[in-house]
Subunit: 408 residues, 2 copies
């Protein structure tokens, strides 16, 4: 372990002009902010990013907003005022990246579309998130995370084998899309450092989902049929025992996941030792993955007879120590309360001036031993004077004038 | 739309020495390969990446392998031979990135750990994927996608409200982790272009899952309780009507997702028009989100009475056209067979020399109108002569000698 070295920002000096809201766009720009870019949110002066209003302490910024906007700055701009639009264009001249995730056609109607901005600054990387791709029959449709997950295939492979499709709990339609755009922006920035050329990037949330269900495409290739739902197993392999088993406690998440690999017959033999059934080690009824697949309910019952007498943490410890992949099903509270994450700075506490202290997931990749440090999400318009001064050379009195004229 | 401009590689000249297998590592390096980096897989001469054997046409490379290794090169190296280890070290001197996802401790036992490689090449970016983080109680445990999803919280928020936890169908523990590492590598590469400094990056699959369930952390902050499973809804808001509704056909994926936003009361009014129940427009029993939440089963039944008489595509079209977010639940086959994806190059066909043509998801972000082009995944050791020549200046006869001595 390299210790707790100071993080040296990767994107120092990179300026992101950020016209995104909610999650798909903000998750992308937040990743860039964790890496040290100067991300300036451009928000409407009345209420800002609607994500601010999604439920927070004492009417302050929502925890949702804090999560997706750490380490950013905020300025307010009235995009309905001609002077406000000019300000954004002036800033676009100074920016390395321009990014937006408005409804289809909205940014063009504002007069800030890719042609306009790229004409002003040919070296800019202009990035857009939409629900559906240009050229798709649904290119004009709105999308939210759940719509992208319905239309992008993730719901079709999530659920009990004999049940209806379910929404995967995480907001992959949003954050999953944001991560792919962040990768693409970073690629374009890297190239630009050599060539000076700009780029126009577009990602659709539906399209992005196909990237995450590639194992379903691979499974389908075997027999030409749509990948099915697989309950607690994988759509690509069923290799019992494999799945969750009930543990002591009986709560909604008192389960342990046990995985025995087809490639490693030792997993099954070790598991028999753990559950005290060495007598079955050479029993042909269970000796091969194929044999066990024919007796799946029976095999599962055997494992469950043991797991029911252990709590999930103990089950994970004992099975894992025997060299069998195993994992307790942990919920958000258990993760939140586990001191290991805080010690390793995977969870960090945001000191927010109005919403108070908030312990939240930080960027989980460690640079020389430690994730990048957290800084609070910005208050609405908190950086008006600073950013308009730094980027455009406006004086405090000019900024005050803009404020008085409802431009910012 | 910018048209089908030729893709200008973002990472031209960047050399990735890739010792990863299966998915978490390969999904990361494949993203870098889509962007134009030279990714050289280092594989054992016998059978290579075990992902090759996960089921393919006529015993050839598995579709799974094709998916996660497009646009890469392959060389074989026997890491148990001293000369083989020397070759890897020689290549590390020439590489920009070194990446591995072996079991905990394995790369160090091989003598290719971060200290060794970074001493040889201080400017290298050394990247590692593990199941659990260093300093975690489980740092020595193996992990697979499902273990990461059990221990990382995604399973706890996926499933029916009154059901057991389920595995989200997609392999987020693998690909989700790979994307976060790709972002971090790109950040380090960008910085290096200015400063020349290397980096040591580590990501744990469990830790990476926390990044994707941030809405669960935000939901938990409201009342201090673990975010629950929400069926087809979101863990952060329940705002009926919201969820999937059964459509004509009755197949396992014949459903349409309908979402009415709390922030936009028009959604509900428009939906009443679509289903021919304008008579309820001002009915106080349904007028507010709170009122509808109290009558959720009744509201759902009303919507389902209409959706049951339409197929999911028509339902999506009609509801979407009325300005209400809606999406058909599409399965992998429907996505695969929809010509729009191929036309837009979100799906591209890999021309594989032994496994044949394979239509698969490409990198879904469009650069100047089109995603980067696909090239086939490499055959085992296909690039031995080319890469050992280019990187190390070895002649064809020297490469043949290494082959004869079981070094490669």
């Amino acid at each position: 372990m390299d210790g707790d070295a100071t993080f040296e920002p990767c994107l120092a000096g990179v300026r992101i002009l950020d016209l995104t809201q909610f999650e798909a766009g903000p998750s992308c720009t937040e990743a860039l902010a964790w890496l040290g870019a100067e991300v300036v949110k451009v928000e409407n002066p009345k209420s800002g990013d609607p994500g601010r209003g999604l439920g927070g302490p004492d009417g302050g910024d929502a925890w949702y907003f804090l999560q997706f906007n750490a380490n950013k700055k905020s300025i307010t701009v009235n995009l309905k005022s001609p002077r406000g639009l000019e300000l954004v264009k002036d800033m676009a001249r100074k920016a390395d990246v321009f990014i937006e995730n408005f409804a289809p056609g909205a940014i063009e109607r504002l007069g800030l579309g890719p042609e306009v901005i790229r004409a002003i600054n040919p070296a800019i990387i202009y990035a857009q998130v939409k629900g559906f791709g240009e050229g798709s029959p649904y290119e004009k449709n709105l999308a939210f995370d759940m719509i992208a997950q319905a239309c992008g295939g993730t719901m079709s492979i999530t659920g009990e084998k004999d049940g209806r499709p379910l929404k995967p709990g995480m907001s992959l339609g949003d954050t999953g899309t944001g991560m792919l755009l962040a990768i693409s922006i970073l690629g374009a920035l890297y190239r630009r450092r050599g060539t000076g050329t700009g780029e126009h990037l577009q990602v659709a949330m539906q399209d992005a989902m196909l990237h995450y269900i590639r194992i379903a495409f691979a499974a389908q290739a075997r027999n030409g049929e749509a990948a099915p739902r697989a309950g607690t197993q994988s759509v690509s392999t069923a290799n019992p025992p494999c799945g969750i088993y009930p543990c002591k406690g009986g709560g909604p998440n008192d389960y342990v996941y046990v995985y025995t690999s087809r490639a490693n017959p030792e997993h099954w033999r070790r598991l028999l030792q753990v559950i005290g059934r060495e007598d079955l080690t050479d029993d042909p009824r269970y000796a091969t993955p194929a044999a066990r697949a024919e007796r799946e309910p029976e095999v599962d019952a055997m494992i469950a007879d043991w797991t029911r007498h252990h709590d999930k943490h103990e089950a994970m410890r004992v099975i894992g120590a025997a060299g069998i992949p195993a994992g307790a099903v942990l919920d958000s509270k258990e993760l939140h309360d586990d001191p290991s994450f805080e010690r390793r700075r995977i969870l960090q506490t945001m000191r927010h001036p109005t919403s108070g202290d908030y312990k939240m997931p930080a960027w989980p990749v460690r640079f020389s031993g430690s994730p990048p440090p957290i800084a609070p999400s910005p208050l609405l318009g908190q950086h008006n004077t600073e950013v308009l001064g730094d980027w455009l050379g406006l004086g405090a009195d000019e900024v005050a004038g803009l404020k008085q004229n409802n431009v910012i």
